[in-house]
Symmetry: C2
Subunit: 337 residues, 2 copies
């Protein structure tokens, strides 16, 4: 298996991302092709005593799509970027999956343009893995590939999320819920009501509506389906709530000796909670619904986060994920699942 890693578009320099790629290559026995500036990649490989060619290869590129570049425009105007040449390598069968910590919108647009959509999937969606209180992960799709969504697209997010939960995460009989502002049927906006009807009438395992405050504590379902705008706000609001409570706690102990001593004694606990919540451990976010395995790593990804994102890509390649989506919803029926 060969993974294509875009080393140019992230917030951290190429050598940090290459370090993660080399580490993944050694640990998982896979090959990595790095797309980007050849001299930077050559230097980093030399530093880690790895030779160019074979297990670790270079796909040279001339330009970079930056974080603040306009997605569609940059994809059109920078065909020689590390992002686009990397996607083309996957399209042409030179690599099995694409991993990048770059501009999310450009990865989505580039993937649609270069890899195309899976048959019958109207729009791709981004899936994230979140930790929950009970220890089992939660999967949320879509968290931002789309801003304006149709009920049919939500239905396909459910199909893809459930397939991912079953085939990649190894959940035995996964069940999906719709992110809504109340649990009763009929709650919420027209989009969600219409999607509810579609899901209820389908063979997909569907538990109805779920609410944002219960997801990380009660984990009422395995897969949460949302339109990309709301899913993105959800994700950032959770992050904001966590930052607020930790920030308030820091403000409160400042200058209070006993509380500071208490915080010192709890430092191991704080570190464990931080580790549980860290995106570094749960890799990147797969873009599901394009014709190929694409994983969007966090923009601030370091070597550890990149290694984890590559692992996520490997699991999807092994599960032959895009091909599974083509089977549609029928396999989820009472006799099919």
């Amino acid at each position: 298996m060969r993974i294509l890693l875009d080393v140019m578009g992230g917030d951290l320099p190429p050598h940090e991302l290459i370090k993660g790629g080399i580490s993944a290559g050694r640990r998982h026995g896979i090959d990595i092709t790095f797309s980007g500036d050849p001299s930077a990649i050559t230097a980093a490989l030399a530093q880690h005593r790895e030779k160019v060619g074979g297990k670790y290869d270079i796909l040279p590129s001339r330009t970079v799509i930056r974080m603040d570049d306009a997605p569609v425009k940059s994809v059109r105007e920078k065909p020689d970027s590390s992002l686009i040449v990397g996607l083309e390598a996957v399209r042409d069968g030179q690599a099995d999956a694409f991993v990048s910590p770059g501009n999310t919108g450009a990865i989505v647009a580039g993937s649609i343009f270069r890899l195309g959509r899976c048959p019958d999937i109207p729009r791709p969606g981004i899936l994230v893995t979140l930790p929950t209180l009970g220890g089992r992960d939660l999967y949320v799709i879509d968290v931002g590939a789309n801003s304006d969504t149709s009920p049919e697209q939500l239905f396909h997010f459910a199909l893809m999320g459930l397939t991912y939960a079953r085939d990649v995460a190894g959940i035995d009989a996964p069940i999906a819920g719709l992110l809504n502002i109340g649990t009763e049927k009929g709650k919420g906006n027209k989009l969600i009501s219409d999607a509810f009807e579609m899901l209820e009438a389908s063979p997909l395992p569907f538990a109805g509506n779920v609410e944002a405050h219960q997801l990380l504590t009660d984990r009422p379902v395995d897969v949460v389906v949302s339109d990309g705008f709301v899913g993105n706000v959800f994700l950032k609001a959770v992050e904001g709530g966590i930052s607020a409570v930790t920030g308030l706690l820091k403000n409160t102990i400042r200058g209070r000796v006993l509380a500071m001593l208490g915080a010192l004694l709890m430092s191991g606990s704080f570190a464990r909670v931080k580790g549980t919540l860290s995106y570094r451990r749960r890799g990147g976010a797969p873009l599901l619904g394009v014709n190929g395995v694409v994983v969007i790593a966090h923009g601030r990804s370091d070597a550890e986060a990149i290694e984890s994102a590559i692992e996520v890509a490997c699991r999807q390649v092994r599960a032959d994920l895009p091909a599974q989506f083509a089977q549609g919803a029928s396999v989820w029926g009472p006799h099919g699942s």
Copy 2:
């Protein structure tokens, strides 16, 4: 000033809510009318050595709109409920404001039907007050009065939120932002893009887009404008993030003696953070845009939370809030504000 308090529709029993009303009456020198079961109210007043009539009055009602009742249906079918007779007392000038910890949807529907909308305001919106890291509160509108929203409605939420921030919260030159999934202009869905154009072209002080993760820590604006569905998800996701991190922390210290000792030393800090984040201290959520002052208290409100909700109502009555909205956006112009 006389406040109408609905004591029947909350999660807690009437005597707890009446206690909050009596406390507010004593502290703020205002009169309270309690709508609900007369015998329960009479008994509670006697318990607090207050007589019926005058300062503390009773508006008897026969039925109750429950939390799980369908909003519009219950408003139509229960005209003799504590909620509806209470709103009618405000409509008829027998009280200056309405406070209830009851069914949010029913309060919204009942307020629209009985009080009517403010002139030129297409839809009312619910505003919440949130604590932020720097200590200054943040105002978010709408958090759930509406599920399907138009750009024009978002514009009016901005107008009402800014007016509230200026006239009720006492912020000198408040500024509004649109809740979006990116800060650049053009980001997000069509609704938000269209509202952005309207706000940019208006005299309202508008800072552009804001993102969910930065609101409670950076507080980039005073007033956050959102459609009710997204605002509600935002609010519950923040709550979920806070619950997750505190729950994880509890799980982590269990059985670790030093960490438990640390938590003990930090208990004052935890209590202060909990107090800062508690809805009890920041009263209810005003429903802005109906012809009268309406405050929706939390369903789980105890006496302290009710007292705080009544205080929020008093401030709006003093600011003559509904009348301020009628002045429209023009007063916010360079020479008007």
